[in-house]
């Protein structure tokens, strides 16, 4: 049992604040870890990186090694790394970088360092923040409440399929595709089979979490020419298990639900803005009055909520 949420605003605004409220209301669904994917106004060039390191004694050395991989691909840091650290063993960092010549090739090289330092998200617009603990705790540590953006995702995790580790938290970045993130509530039962197939095609997985598969699987389908809507539809019969997941890009948020209708999804849409969550009480923290909710509780449902021109995209 996990809790997921999505939020879309009409214009850049307090999406971080809203995502924290949506996840705080669902903390009972999973207090092991909490994560957020926030989409802000895209950079014209360069990327924002969010990541984690696992040895605080080696922060400077590991970041320098990491930077060297970037230089080998014709890019560099364009901002000083901002380090967030507390008493836990890991630390988190945020920085901006210039464009590598080939993003996917650089990510593959940078992932060789994943035992020490790991990219959590890479995007012109996307930033993924995740850590162990509840929504308020993670927000206070990483200042999620203050983040401005147009849309985003949230996740409260009850660890079932893999360990309680900060990097096994959601959302997952669809590495190595920039600006794609997913959150998932459920269990993928053919995870190992699907992951092995994608690994043979060259994809890299950094955790044992089944949800990481969905991010890469959907992005791989889109790379092969499917639209996001087609990929979401295909996922329902191609991925085995019980699930509701949401996948975000700079253009909006897509969702898909399994064939057995086991995992709920509740949506309120008002004045062109949208909040989606596992539980109705969560979306009511954003839309306080008694507006109508839409329950996506049937089997095999999928769709896209666009940012800006949502009714057209849906």
């Amino acid at each position: 049992m996990c809790g997921i949420a999505g939020r879309i605003l009409n214009a850049p605004g307090a999406v971080g604040r809203d995502l924290v409220a949506l996840m705080d209301a669902q903390e009972h669904r999973g207090a092991d870890s909490t994560g957020f994917a926030v989409y802000s106004t895209p950079l014209d060039k360069g990327y924002v990186l969010r990541g984690m390191g696992f040895s605080k004694a080696r922060i400077d050395a590991d970041l320098e090694t990491f930077r060297a991989t970037l230089k080998e691909h014709g890019a560099d840091f364009t901002s000083e790394p901002v380090i967030v650290s507390d008493t836990s063993k890991h630390y988190s960092f945020r920085m901006e970088i210039s464009d590598p010549k080939n993003l996917q090739a650089w990510v593959a090289d940078a992932d060789e360092l994943s035992g020490h330092i790991e990219i959590q998200s890479c995007g012109r617009s996307l930033e993924i923040i995740k850590d162990v603990g509840g929504a308020t705790q993670v927000s206070e540590k990483h200042k999620v409440h203050d983040m401005i953006g147009t849309h985003g995702l949230g996740h409260a995790r009850l660890a079932t399929e893999s360990s309680v580790l900060p990097n096994a938290s959601h959302p997952f970045w669809a590495r190595p595709f920039s600006d794609v993130a997913i959150v998932h509530n459920g269990q993928i039962t053919d995870y190992y089979t699907q992951r092995d197939r994608l690994r043979r095609e060259g994809y890299r997985f950094l955790t044992e979490n089944d949800s990481e598969l969905i991010a890469v699987w959907v992005s791989d389908q889109m790379k092969q020419g499917l639209s996001m809507e087609q990929a979401l539809k295909k996922s329902i019969n191609s991925i085995d298990g019980v699930f509701t997941f949401m996948i975000a890009t700079p253009d909006g948020i897509g969702y898909a639900k399994d064939r057995f209708a086991m995992k709920p999804l509740v949506v309120i849409e008002q004045m062109g803005e949208l909040a989606a969550a596992t539980e109705e009480q969560a979306v009511r923290t954003v839309f306080a009055d008694e507006c109508d909710v839409i329950n996506y509780d049937g089997p095999s449902q999928f769709g896209i909520w666009g940012v800006g021109n949502r009714s057209m995209a849906a």
Binding site: F260, A261, P264, E279, E280, Q281, R284, E290, V293, N295, D297, G298, P299
Partner: protein, 230 residues
């Protein structure tokens, strides 16, 4: 008779339910306000309380009810009236997944639609839904009646046991091991007797009564062919 008003808001649910229990001893109607779709409201109510929830409620509202009357003015989340033994629950809007799960008695009346698996594993009582019942409703219902006036979703009455699913309106698809039979006039009269107090009798309805095919029920390992046909 004056009513007692209880505020939900962000208060602790246990504190609210204890207040409801105390208020029910007075015999006065109780109005629960600012419900915010919170979970577990009005669980374990004794016989005789009369509650109105102003707004929507979350999961398990009215669960384990032993004889109280609950009116939820708008929607409810998962498993309204789960395990209830007696009493009456009215949902003014729609009900989420597993409405009346494992209930053993009483009546749940939903004015809108329900989510998937309405009446899952119910062992008695009646669920009346003015709208459509969701995917796989009636799943493994042991006893009691699910009466849907606005149709049913996919996989209706899947793996039903001795329960009955009555549907007026379109059925998207049937589940495994379901028999659709023509009800007798006597059986229709029994259903109308359940609908009559709710003001929902309509003699022009074209009923489909669904019962178990019993192939799963009497599974015989030495003759698996019946099971394999499903």
């Amino acid at each position: 008779m004056s009513e007692i008003v209880i505020e939900v808001g962000k208060r602790h649910i246990r504190e609210i339910n204890e207040e409801i229990q105390e208020a029910s001893k007075t015999g006065k109607p109780i109005r629960i306000v600012n419900t915010l779709s919170r979970h577990n409201l009005g669980v374990g109510l004794p016989d005789g309380a009369d509650l109105t929830f102003e707004g929507s409620v979350g999961y398990y509202c009215g669960g384990l009810n032993t004889g109280s009357k609950l009116t939820i003015e708008r929607n409810c989340g998962w498993a309204v009236g789960e395990g209830m033994a007696k009493g009456h629950i009215t949902v003014g809007g729609r009900a989420g997944m597993s409405c009346g799960a494992a209930m053993i008695g009483g009546t749940i009346h939903v004015k809108g639609d329900t989510g998937p698996r309405c009446g899952v594993a119910m062992k008695g009582g009646n669920i009346v839904v003015e709208g459509k019942i969701g995917y796989q409703s009636g799943f493994m219902a042991h006893s009691g009646k699910i009466i849907a006036l606005g149709g049913a979703g996919e996989s209706c009455a899947d793996a039903l046991w001795e329960g009955e699913v009555w549907v007026a309106g379109p059925v998207e698809s049937l589940g495994v091991d379901v028999n659709v039979i023509e009800p007798t006039a006597e059986e229709v009269a029994e259903v109308d007797a359940i609908l009559e107090p709710l003001g929902l009798v309509d003699t022009s309805r074209d009923w489909r009564k669904m019962v178990s095919g019993q192939r799963l029920w009497y599974f015989e390992a030495r003759d698996a062919s019946a099971w394999l046909m499903i």
